[in-house]
């Protein structure tokens, strides 16, 4: 059993408890507010198996920047929405081991809610303009803190897996795709 040091008076203990309680309530309130207001189309909301509403919105926005086209005016380049990167990630995350999934969700929360604050933005990542989103992502990719870089790399890897899995994107690369199941005329016709 842990003995409290005798120097801590009852008054000090009460004050500390009050401060801690205020902190927890404020933190919970902030967390509550920051996870409200996410809008997911009803048909999508009904099909999500792993991601919550805010996570789906975040992943959708992160994918749009990470897999942004090099030629924005070129309509032949599939967008991350076209190939449903967020839907892929929803399914993929559901098959992850529990601990990996937990770490990934923490990374989502950090990038959506904390990383913008550290760059001086009061908005969530998903509500920032594109350029500001890019700035936040760049700050993570080049961070001196390896955990933050690791968080970025993990999200980047998932997004690119969701994007480049789709045969429509292979034309960009000149990649012929698998031989197994290849349609007559090839994947990228």
């Amino acid at each position: 059993m842990v003995k409290l040091p005798l120097r801590i008076s009852r008054r000090r203990l009460l004050r500390s408890g009050l401060a801690l309680g205020t902190f927890v309530i404020a933190g919970s309130g902030l967390a509550f507010l920051r996870t409200r207001g996410y809008v997911v189309p009803p048909e999508r909301a009904a099909s999500l198996t792993s991601l919550s509403a805010w996570q789906w919105v975040f992943v959708t926005h992160a994918a749009r920047r990470i897999a942004a086209p090099d030629r924005p005016a070129d309509s032949s380049i599939p967008t991350p929405d076209d190939v449903d990167v967020a839907g892929f990630i929803d399914d993929y995350v559901g098959r992850m081991p529990h601990e990996l999934r937990r770490d990934l969700f923490r990374a989502f929360a950090y990038v959506e809610h904390v990383a913008p604050l550290r760059r001086g933005y009061l908005s969530r990542f998903s509500r920032l303009p594109k350029d500001d989103q890019d700035e936040v992502l760049t700050s993570l990719a080049t961070s001196e803190q390896e955990l933050l870089r690791g968080a970025f790399e993990g999200i980047k890897s998932l997004v690119f897996m969701g994007y480049y899995r789709d045969a429509r994107t292979w034309k960009i690369l000149g990649y012929d795709g698998p031989f197994v199941g290849r349609p007559v005329g090839g994947w990228t016709r």
Binding site: A67, D70, F88, E146, E153, Y164, R165, I172, Y175, F179
Partner: protein, 507 residues
């Protein structure tokens, strides 16, 4: 017979002469030798049983099925990604068929410095020869070198550096270029295709989707293994108990150590899980004006050994080989994101990529979380970082010598060069911690062999120093890195140690 976890409807209790944990290079040989000796033997494999029809050549489908943690296994500090196999056949299913023996100087060093007895080059030579025969190992003909390998050969030749063709275990290869996603053409002569079927024909059983959770020990003697059988999506289905007087661990340097730690095995000299080597590497990409088509053809058929020497205290500890990936792997490896990243991806067919892998002296450690999952601790030492920087610069020189317009060393701040003179400015700081993304595919050590129990976990015969009947037959045996791909060494050491665990199982 192969039994899947989902087929185990009740909690089975199995009584056999020996149980093998893991079905990769070491586990398959252990199982085969036990069965051929007329013993009742089973193997437990935590991953699935997949065959050529399951190998779709799609990264998004195969990476999560063939690799630990769905391909996301990392060291604790997130500094190194570890690609490690999972499933019947282990890493032999996804590897690129590289067959190299343990270098003689490494075997000599193990004898003189780590008190490993009975594994001299002359003692091991027949074991290697047997395995090479079993797996139909042959040197790759030069006409099978794809564009990426030809770049390595040409660049090394221009520089006058040592290199040569690699030997592989493949028959009927279609040169599709999808080796790392499992062979859809069943051309790999590996544990899955060759050794495990031999074991099964000799009477052994393999339980897939059955994860060993604990080694059972009573009064200093192993008595079996507790395991959990899972269904097709990984949900626990039943508790499995295998009772056996001999247990052979062959779940890899990470998996076997984690199981041993979870089981609370005696460890009076704090050796369990120590001595982890990863043979880590990083890549350099060269952009050419012409098509290289590196994704097509056999991925790795040529090596450069100019910077690799197994002499003691050598300052050349880097092995250079081609390394290329399909789009998802390439996209993850290329630096940056967004439009600039897609612009770089447009050069996909004009990229050649080389990997510099360090014959490492860093000693890491495997621990476990409260839930029993492995934690991989590995902080690369300065000497190895210097070697890595040297290897990356050497790889860049090869690419430029072969005609690359520009080379890129991916990293937090990527390094680019168009002329060899620019590379001269690059120093060891290139490979400072977390500066370049590292990947490891050859974990070794953690349950090291040797006759001195103060410096090893198992004896030179592979038996645990404190637990009778518990043997090890995988890469965790190795006291040091071997500096080359370990599959042949693991197969051969399992064969070498087999007489010991066969005799123990006979009682």
């Amino acid at each position: 017979m192969i039994v899947r976890g989902r087929e185990l409807l009740v909690d089975p209790s199995i009584d056999v002469d020996a149980v093998v944990v893991g079905t990769g290079a070491g586990g398959s040989i252990a199982l085969r030798e036990l069965a051929r000796a007329g013993l009742r033997a089973v193997a437990l494999e935590e991953g699935a049983f997949l065959g050529p029809r399951d190998f779709t050549q799609r990264e998004d489908e195969m990476i999560p099925r063939l690799f630990q943690d769905m391909g996301g296994r990392m060291t604790e500090d997130l500094g190194i990604r570890i690609l490690q196999g999972r499933g019947v056949g282990g890493s032999t299913v996804h590897n690129t068929n590289l067959c190299k023996r343990t270098p003689d100087r490494i075997l000599d060093r193990w004898a003189s410095e780590y008190h490993v007895s009975g594994a001299s080059p002359s003692a091991m030579a027949p074991r290697f020869a047997q395995i090479e025969s079993d797996l139909s190992v042959e040197p790759m003909p030069s006409e099978w070198q794809n564009g990426n390998n030809a770049v390595l050969r040409r660049g090394a030749a221009v520089l006058g550096w040592r290199g040569g063709p690699l030997a592989h275990n493949r028959i009927g290869c279609q040169q599709s270029g999808f080796c790392e996603l499992g062979c859809a053409y069943d051309a790999k002569q590996n544990a899955l295709k060759v050794i495990l079927p031999e074991a099964i024909r000799a009477g052994a059983d393999v339980y897939a989707d059955v994860e060993a959770t604990r080694i059972l020990v009573t009064k200093g003697r192993v008595v079996g293994v507790a395991a959990v059988a899972r269904d097709a999506v990984g949900r626990p289905r039943s508790e499995v108990t295998v009772r056996a007087p001999v247990v052979v661990l062959a779940g890899s340097a990470i998996g076997s150590a984690a199981l041993a730690l979870r089981s609370g095995l005696p460890d009076p000299y704090d050796q369990l899980g120590r001595g982890l080597r990863l043979h880590p590497g990083a890549v350099v990409a060269g952009r050419f004006d012409r098509a290289i088509d590196a994704a097509q053809g056999i991925p790795q058929s040529y090596e450069c050994t100019e910077w690799l020497s197994f002499e003691r205290n050598s300052d050349k500890r880097v092995w250079i080989v081609p390394a290329f990936a399909h789009p998802i792997g390439t996209a993850a490896a290329l630096p940056g994101f967004g439009g600039a990243h897609m612009a770089a991806m447009r050069d996909y067919n004009r990229l050649a990529v080389l990997s510099a892998m360090v014959h490492d002296e860093t000693s890491g450690r495997v621990a476990v979380t409260r839930e029993g999952r492995p934690v991989i601790r590995y902080a690369m030492e300065d000497g190895d970082r210097g070697q890595l920087a040297q290897g990356l610069v050497a790889s860049a020189r090869i690419l430029l010598a072969a005609g690359a317009r520009e080379v890129t060393i991916p990293g937090v701040f990527p390094v680019r060069a168009t002329r060899e003179a620019e590379l001269a400015k690059i120093g060891p700081s290139l490979a400072r911690p977390h500066a370049v993304p590292l990947t490891a595919v050859h974990p070794m050590g953690t349950l090291r062999m040797g006759d001195d129990p103060r410096r090893s976990v198992v004896s030179s015969q592979g038996e645990h120093h404190q637990v009778r009947g518990l043997f090890v037959a995988d890469g965790s045996l190795f006291p040091t890195s071997i500096g080359v791909p370990p599959q042949i060494s693991i197969y051969a050491f399992a064969l070498h140690l087999a007489p010991g665990f066969v005799a123990a199982a006979r009682g």
